[in-house]
């Protein structure tokens, strides 16, 4: 039960003024600009865009500055901001095969057309703190090959699946638009389109832990990283004023194609199955975790047992959203004075009753 409480206004205003001072930190240290955050804390920006479910690097950088670097708080700010904007419509489905690739690796086929392209990765670094970064200075320019990469690299699985041993993902475009969680609540059983939207917005830490749990045996599905790619993808849209599709620009995207344990049935020959993950910007850990959980949530439709947390759609999808989760956890900080008073009265009553009963029993024994 909540009761309006008056009287905190001045304390709140002063608290916020102090917060602004703390946000700025030592005034002798130069202030961060939005551009600095956007350019130099890019992976933080990318995560805020992904889980904030809004692609706009400048807004995400602003949110991070306002939130003092707190990612979930910044994600909350971005989600709140989007509610102030009108929706112009939906894009055409992205053609991730047409990506201008910066990184593309496959852990299942060594000789993929176009090769294994490492791109700007943390992989193979030694994870030793680099104290050179504590001093200022520009890095040496990255080497450039004489022959650039092909303009597009076709999807590894689509190219190397000639035998049809891996499940194919076919477009089955019907007239109905896919469900949209920004406009309708989660419903169960949740279709894959609804699950993928939920997971794409879902908390990276939560999905990482769930994905890891499947690897450790809670809903094992034997994954391989079929392909991970990161780069720029064009977004196309049909403006009502024009009636034909145009490109709005490019967004950076990370995509993970997971190839998983095979299944077969009376109708289907044995074949590898798949899980899919995607994130705005460069977010491989998120895309891989999402792909693992997407595959785990397909357990029922693939006729597998569903006895592990990562396979439980209601458990996963109801708890993946960190804006909702932090809201319900943190609301415990709000005044519950009346609630607690009533519970105090109940406990006092129980104690009184117990004491009276003990006294009565003692009296009975003494007689």
């Amino acid at each position: 039960m909540y009761v309006a409480v008056k009287g905190g206004e001045r304390a709140i205003a002063n608290a916020h003024a102090w917060l602004a001072e703390e946000r700025r930190g030592d005034p002798d240290v130069p202030e961060l600009s939005i551009a600095q955050i956007r350019e130099q804390q890019r992976l933080a920006v990318d995560r805020v865009m992904t889980e904030g479910s809004l692609y706009d690097p400048d807004l995400a950088a602003l949110a991070l500055k306002q939130a003092r670097g707190d990612q979930v708080e910044a994600i909350f700010l971005l989600r709140a901001y989007r509610t102030t904007l009108p929706r112009f419509g939906s894009s055409l489905p992205l053609d991730t095969g047409g990506m201008c690739v910066r990184r593309r690796v496959s852990a299942i086929f060594k000789d993929v057309p176009g090769g294994q392209v490492l791109g700007p990765t943390f992989d193979y670094t030694h994870r030793l703190l680099d104290f050179a970064l504590a001093a200022e200075g520009d890095p040496a320019p990255a080497p450039r090959a004489d022959a650039p990469l092909a303009e597009t690299l076709p999807g590894v699985i689509d190219v190397l699946n000639r035998e049809g041993l891996i499940e194919t993902e076919a477009a089955s475009d019907n007239a109905l638009p896919p469900p949209d969680l920004t406009r309708e609540p989660l419903r169960f059983p949740a279709a894959r389109a609804m699950r993928l939207q939920n997971l794409a917005r879902g908390d990276e830490g939560f999905l990482l832990a769930l994905g890891y749990s499947t690897q450790r045996g809670y809903g094992r599905n034997h994954p391989f990283a079929g392909e991970i790619r990161y780069g720029e993808v064009a977004v196309s849209f049909v403006p009502p004023e024009l009636g034909f599709e145009i490109e709005l620009g490019d967004i950076e995207l990370t995509e993970c194609q997971m190839v998983n344990q095979f299944a077969g049935s009376k109708n289907e020959p044995p074949q590898f199955t798949r899980g899919y993950g995607v994130s705005f910007g460069h977010g491989e850990r998120k895309a891989m975790s999402m792909a693992l959980v997407d595959r785990a949530l397909r357990a029922a439709e693939l006729g597998e047992e569903t006895d592990s947390p990562a396979q439980d759609a209601e458990f996963v999808l109801y708890h993946s959203d960190n804006v909702e989760a932090q809201g319900f956890v943190q609301h415990l900080k709000l005044p519950h004075y009346v609630d607690f008073q009533s519970e105090l009265n109940v406990v006092r009553g129980m104690r009184r009753a117990a004491a009276e009963a003990a006294e009565a029993a003692l009296a009975e024994a003494a007689e």
Partner: protein, 150 residues
């Protein structure tokens, strides 16, 4: 009635303009002779477009997340409608794109604009992408097999 080629040309122009920097468009606009006059039909407005993806990259559609988009509609002196739709929140840039869209439909202006605005913007984009692909190609792994024993 617009022909297929007109539409294809306009699509190409709009794709190039949407990716051009605001500075490039602003500079180009200042140089257009005779100085164009236009009226704003729909003032620049920022909103959202839901980005759709496909399961597995090629399967059923799903909603991936939104992006900010800014749009503007103008009418040139000749009464030609220009439409600008760009990723992001730059209202002035959306207006400039709409203006150039209108001007590029004017046969007396389009060859010059094609030469002085579209071609350089397209060239910049090509160079930027080539630089990305050259750096990416430098990180391609050359596998070799180490012979054992013998």
């Amino acid at each position: 009635m617009a022909t297929q080629t007109d539409t294809a040309r306009r699509q190409r122009h709009l794709a190039v303009l949407a990716r051009a920097g605001r500075g490039l468009l602003e500079d180009a606009f200042a140089l257009v002779q005779p100085a164009p006059r236009y009226e704003v039909v729909k003032p620049a407005e920022t909103g959202l477009v839901m980005v759709r993806g496909r399961a597995g990259g090629t399967g059923g559609q799903f909603n991936m997340g939104e992006m900010t988009v800014t749009r503007c509609v103008v009418r040139s002196e000749q009464g030609v409608i220009g439409v600008g739709y760009i990723a992001g929140r730059d209202r002035r840039k959306a207006e400039l794109v709409a203006v150039f869209d209108a001007l590029l439909q004017d046969p007396s202006r389009s060859p010059q604009l094609e030469r002085e605005v579209i071609a350089p913007a397209e060239q910049r984009r090509r160079e930027r992408q080539a630089a990305i692909r050259a750096r990416a190609a430098a990180t391609r792994v050359d596998f070799f097999t180490v012979m054992r024993g013998e």
